[in-house]
């Protein structure tokens, strides 16, 4: 009896050992395959970024960064005013989109949610609103551009201007800001809200003293993402911002952002080297913004970890 049992065990052990060998071989193979895919992906990224930086780097010098484009078929001049226009446009767009987006998200999460439980009508309105936000996030930017052109540029007579572009840009980034703010607010534990209300704070005090500060890193992430979006979009501003290479002096002036200038250089001039240089500056800016997002979201997750 005892021997039978022992030999039974050893049979199982043998089978296990054989299977383990097979499985670990299989595992090594697939890990190798994944490594290969990862290597390809990273190589493509490094190749593209590296190519732009190396090619563009040749065109970049102090003069390139500090003089304005001169126009013309040869693409004379630098990119100073387009950097300025990019900053103006980012600032104005966020000035419009941030209060709207954060406000909408706060309403949807903090107020509408509880009221909708008692009102069927409100519940369907919120359903539609959330669906709209999600859909808007997936719409190509040129659609926002056409809309901006029809409404702001022509109907409202804002012309090709910073204002038209910023309003259209705000429509473009609103879904991003609403979504990230909603997520940030949802991540704030209900315990905080209850604790605050139980101390005799009003809902509004709870919101601006506890909930918004706790959700701030997430909200900032959404805003930085939007900055990146405005910097890198081209089509939407092609039809709302115009193409003047002078620095705008009012919000009714048109201009061209870095990305737009890059497009013009590549399509309308022979200055391929300058297009590359502009691209390199753009890539560096995007990399810096992504580093910033990384830092902020790291801070965010650190905060969440502490809560648990």
């Amino acid at each position: 009896m005892e021997e039978d049992r022992l030999s039974g065990i050893s049979l199982i052990h043998q089978a296990q050992a054989q299977n383990l060998k097979k499985e670990s071989g299989r595992q090594s193979f697939w890990i190798g395959v994944m490594w290969f895919f990862a290597f390809i992906t990273v190589s493509i990224l490094i190749l593209v970024v590296g190519y732009v930086l190396v090619q563009g780097g040749k065109a970049i010098d102090w003069e390139f960064l500090t003089t304005s484009p001169k126009g013309g078929i040869s693409g004379e001049g630098g990119i100073s005013t387009t950097i300025g226009t990019t900053f103006y446009l980012v600032g104005l767009t966020l000035l419009i989109a941030t209060p709207l987006g954060v406000g909408a998200a706060v309403f949807l999460i903090e107020y509408a949610g509880e009221q909708s439980l008692s009102s069927k009508f409100l519940r369907s309105v919120i359903g539609v609103a959330n669906f709209a936000v999600e859909t808007l996030a997936g719409i190509p930017s040129i659609i926002f551009g056409l809309f901006g052109y029809a409404l702001f540029v022509s109907t409202l007579h804002f012309g090709f201007s910073l204002l038209s572009a910023a309003l259209a840009g705000a429509c473009l980034v609103l879904p991003t800001i609403i979504r990230t703010t909603e997520e940030a607010l949802l991540a704030v534990p209900d315990d905080y809200r209850r604790g605050s209300l139980a101390l005799g704070a009003t809902k509004w005090q709870t919101l601006y003293r506890i909930v918004l500060p706790a959700g701030l890193p997430g909200i900032i992430t959404g805003i930085i993402l939007s900055v990146g979006r405005v910097i890198s979009e081209t089509a939407i501003f092609y039809v709302t911002l115009g193409g003047s290479y002078r620095l705008p002096t009012s919000i009714m002036d048109g201009g061209r952002t870095l990305a737009l200038h890059l497009y013009y250089l590549a399509m309308d001039t022979r200055a391929f080297d300058k297009a590359m240089g502009t691209g390199a500056v753009l890539v560096v800016m995007i990399i810096l913004i992504n580093l910033l997002i990384d830092r902020v979201s790291r801070k965010l997750t650190a905060g969440v970890r502490k809560v648990r």
Partner: protein
């Protein structure tokens, strides 16, 4: 029995169509510790939240009967003012992601107090009352989240004391703490009962026996509607229960 601080008369509570509490009539005495015990889902936590109207935050809640504080109908008081008078400590310690000082000063600040000297005074007094002062007095700028679980809970008690309530509701305040931290909280509850009316929900019958002067036993049957079975001095309830269900529960035959 002493003067009653809190009182309910034929109080029922519904979540939508589902009746969670049925016809509860009780007089909770002033400056004593009253424990609410009973099996899970018997509505004792829901009942506790009735005293500071935290159930108002849950959609679809409807009540019948009356809840009185100092003889006044709480539905006629402003919930914000009521909650400054009736503090609450939750099951899971929930300090805000702020410094220890800002946590305790939160309540007074919300009521409009800005004078820093007065705030300092209140923070110190509250932390002393919750037996946390000596452990944190040199680190008031440290985040409340960096404290241990037991310290966090005492911080939450200090935070509740800072708005000078007369009643403190505690919803299983030691459920997530280790035995030593639990004992500290229990000692604290005992001390506080000299000046505050304390109502505590607990799953732990030994705890109810240790900390409370009065005990209310809640029970529910298949209908899942909570009812008050028995309410008397803790000693009496544990040694000489009137109701068969109370006896079965405290001797561990169910629940």
């Amino acid at each position: 029995m002493n003067d009653s601080k809190l009182e309910t008369i034929d109080y029922s509570l519904y979540y939508g169509k589902y009746r969670a509490l049925k016809d509860i009539t009780i007089k909770i005495p002033e400056n004593k510790v009253t424990a609410l015990i009973g099996p899970s889902g018997c509505g004792k936590s829901t009942f506790l939240r009735s005293f500071n109207r935290m159930n108002d935050l849950i959609a679809g809640v409807r009540t019948e009967g009356m809840v009185l504080i100092d003889g006044e109908d709480i539905l006629k008081t402003d919930p914000v003012a009521l909650r400054q008078n009736v503090g609450m400590v939750f099951q899971k310690p929930n300090p805000f992601p702020k410094s220890i000082f800002d946590n305790v000063a939160y309540g007074p600040r919300v009521t409009g107090l800005k004078d820093h000297h007065k705030l300092e005074e209140i923070v110190e007094r509250s932390l002393r009352s919750s037996a946390l002062w000596d452990e944190v007095k040199d680190n008031l700028g440290k985040s409340g989240l960096d404290l241990s679980g037991g310290q966090q809970q005492r911080l939450c008690i200090a935070r509740a004391l800072a708005v000078e309530p007369t009643v403190i509701l505690m919803d299983e305040p030691a459920a997530s703490l280790d035995p030593i931290a639990t004992l500290k909280i229990e000692d604290l509850i005992h001390e506080l009962s000299a000046n505050y009316t304390i109502v505590i929900v607990t799953h732990n019958m030994q705890q109810a026996g240790r900390v409370s002067d009065f005990t209310a036993f809640f029970y529910t049957d298949e209908s899942r509607t909570g009812q008050l079975v028995e309410f008397s001095e803790t000693k009496t309830l544990f040694t000489n229960p009137r109701d068969r269900r109370t006896e079965d529960y405290i001797t561990g035959r169910f629940g």
